[in-house]
Amino acid sequence: MQQDNSNRDQGSQKVLKISIVVCFLMIGFVAALVPLYDIICDITGLNGKTGVLAAENVKEEAIEHTVIVQFDGTVNSDLPWSFKPEQFSMEVTPGKLYQTEYIAQNISTTDITGHAVPSVAPNEASIYFSKTECFCFTEQLLTAGEQKNMPVTFIVSSDIPKDIDVLTLSYTFFNKSRMTAAQQAADNSTHKVTEI
């Protein structure tokens, strides 16, 4: 009896230990998912992040297939700017370099640094879309009331599957100065609440 109860206790302790190890492994698994997700997205374009294609790779191939590239611009609610594409769409030949512009204006009375995050839809198309020059590569400072034309140079890879006819390049402008200050505001939540 004594012996058996201690067997039971030993068994239970073993289950306890193994289970705790499994729990920590699963937490590690979640932590690993973050870089893993980025890698998977790089390979598949799953989250619409655009591919990287150097300007030297531009090939002048004769391709009959053309695609429509649509442009879209949004500002995050924390950023008092206006932001829109100069033209809404463009018919492009894959493999060729094109340029278009976005127009941003700071409509507030303070100088603000913004930061644009691009995304391409449909996601499958994103790995065939590269920007060789883009205002999103750097932070953009607009003084109070300043308006600025922001060029983007891009190329759609000639490898793009034939069934993709239309793709959309979309930017969201975020408030860079607020990004770092955002969490201070979070603590001061009465302020936050009145804002909501």
Partner: protein
């Protein structure tokens, strides 16, 4: 574990070993010792059940506010932000406060009795895992009284919306952490109990199905609760420590949260249904007076459902923008779950086939479970179809679906179990007439409540919105009336249970004539300590004892 000790030897060798069994015949005296410091599986089970029921009432009250606001189009009673707090809190409380603790309570009470164990394997941890819960939910509920109110971004806690809450973000995250710790400890206890504490001649394939489904549920819990904990921790650091896991501005991706959340969330929905499968698999054979049809296939089907639950998560996110291959994979994998689930439903029906059925309240709730859960399963298969899901997504169709599987599924399973085992817990038979009134009242009203929501969803009414256009008015009014009636029926349930606990016809040890299972071999009410002597049990008393 030595198996060659006979029961006779055991009688002499029995000693008060380990745990807290200083006193064999008497319960600890005093409220604090009896309840706060208890390590007794039956007392802890009772605590869990009372707690779960209290949360069921609180979460139900929130649902009443939701249905009140939706009674008519336009805004009548609450502000939209408060409405959203209600939908969010209703879900969190029902999932983590009502359904999961109710199952853990049933596990605590019944698993040791069903496998001939004196108690749970880790009784002190058992006490701890319960007493964390009141603190977790006090924290969560306290957000209702804070400036800015309770979380209102939906129970799925999607960023960036959820991060825009006021103080409540931190409280929400830490409450979820505590619930997770509690669930994990409960699950470890269940696994340790089932693996180590079975009477020496009870093999794995002698175990009742409730024990089997709980064993598999416990594995799911240990695998996915840490995933949820990780996800909400990243929300916490995104909110307060300037990280950008889910913020596109900082190079993160909000969709990553959805993947992690549903990697937890899909097994979670099976955590909330598998024990109910176990309960009805105990009840139907008793009242059909036939052994469960296809016992082994039931075990394998449960394991198959558990495995599949890990590889289908993105069917919750069809509208997020996935490559075609992903949509196809998740669609087919999801539809595959219908196969083992169909096996179970077939087995329940086959168990009843040509049985000598009687229709006591537990059986009525189990039958309603089989029929209504199947309706929920069908609407689930409809939504598994990626192309049509784009239309159903975030409409009342999904609301109808998951309430069919969770209310007429999980909650009906729990209520069936409560009626089935209440005589064993309290020593009294419940009033059969009142039980039947409760059943018909609940079953009719729950269908009036949720069935019209299918049509609302197909017609395009979005969920989580306090107002709607006028063409939805009639179905919403029906749904609200059903909702109030269903809510009232559960208040009536309190009365039925209270009356049974206070008095009533004395229950025999067997309670249900011819019922199989070791729990029916101990007196009613079950003594404070049972199966204290380590030794073989009579396998003839077990439903699945002899053939294996």
């Amino acid at each position: 574990m030595s198996q060659d000790i006979t029961p006779n030897e055991m009688n002499h060798a029995e000693v008060a070993h380990g745990h807290d069994h200083h006193d064999h015949d008497h319960k600890p005296k005093g409220f604090v010792k009896r309840w706060l410091m208890t390590t007794n599986h039956k007392d802890i089970g009772t605590l869990y059940l009372i707690f779960a029921f209290a949360m069921f009432i609180i979460g139900g009250a929130m649902a009443m506010i939701i249905r009140l606001e939706l009674f008519q189009p336009g805004l009548q009673f609450v502000e939209p932000d408060f409405f959203n707090q209600m939908t969010t809190m209703h879900a969190l409380i029902m999932v983590f406060g009502a359904v999961m603790p109710a199952f853990v309570g049933l596990a605590n009470w019944m698993i040791p009795l069903m496998i001939g164990a004196p108690d749970m394997a880790l009784p002190r941890m058992n006490n701890w895992s319960f007493w964390i819960l009141p603190f977790a939910f006090t924290m969560l509920l306290s957000t209702l009284f804070m400036p800015g109110g309770a979380p209102a971004g939906g129970w799925t806690m999607y960023p960036p919306l959820v991060l825009q809450g006021g103080h409540n973000v931190g409280f929400l995250v830490f409450a979820v952490h505590m619930m997770g710790i509690s669930s994990i400890m409960g699950a470890i206890n269940v696994i340790a109990t089932i693996m180590n504490m079975r009477a020496p001649n009870v093999g794995y394939l002698n175990m009742p199905l409730f024990v089997w489904t709980w064993l598999i549920t416990a594995f799911l819990l240990i695998a996915v609760m840490p995933v949820l904990a990780g996800a909400v921790t990243m929300l916490l650091t995104d909110r307060y420590f300037d990280t950008s896991f889910f913020s596109a501005a900082g190079g993160g991706d909000p969709v990553l949260f959805q993947h992690i959340f549903w990697f937890f969330g899909h097994p979670e929905v099976y955590i909330m249904i598998l024990p109910a499968f176990g309960i009805v698999s105990e009840i139907i054979p008793t009242f059909a007076r036939k052994p469960l049809f296809g016992y082994v296939s039931m075990v394998y089907a449960t394991a198959a459902i558990a495995f599949l639950s890990f590889i289908v998560w993105a069917h919750h996110m069809f509208s997020v923008g996935m490559p075609l291959g992903g949509e196809l994979y998740f669609m087919y994998a999801t539809m595959m779950i219908a196969v083992p689930t169909g096996v179970k439903i077939f087995n329940w029906v086959a168990t009843m086939w040509k049985g000598s059925m009687t229709f006591e309240t537990p059986m009525l709730f189990s039958l309603a479970f089989v029929i209504l859960f199947t309706i929920g399963g069908f609407s689930g298969v409809m939504m598994a179809l990626a192309p049509v899901d784009l239309q159903y997504h975030d409409t009342y169709f999904i609301v109808a679906h998951f309430h069919y599987v969770l209310v007429t599924g999980a909650v009906f399973g729990i209520i069936a179990g409560a009626y089935y085992w209440l005589p064993k817990w309290s020593g009294h038979m419940y009033n059969e007439r009142l039980g039947k009134i409760h059943f018909w009242w609940s079953t009719i009203s729950v269908n009036v409540l949720f069935f019209p929501q299918h049509f609302l969803g197909l017609a395009g009414m979005p969920r989580r919105i306090p107002d709607y256009s006028t063409q939805f008015a009639e179905f919403n009014m029906w749904s609200s009336i059903g909702g109030f009636a269903f809510g009232l029926a559960q208040v009536f349930f309190i009365y039925v249970v209270w009356k049974t606990v206070k008095g009533g016809e004395k229950a025999t040890a067997e309670v249900w004539p011819g019922a199989k299972g070791l729990e029916w071999t101990v007196p009613s009410p079950a003594p404070h300590h049972t199966f204290e002597e380590f030794g073989p049990v009579d396998l003839d008393k077990m439903a699945h004892g002899k053939d294996h």
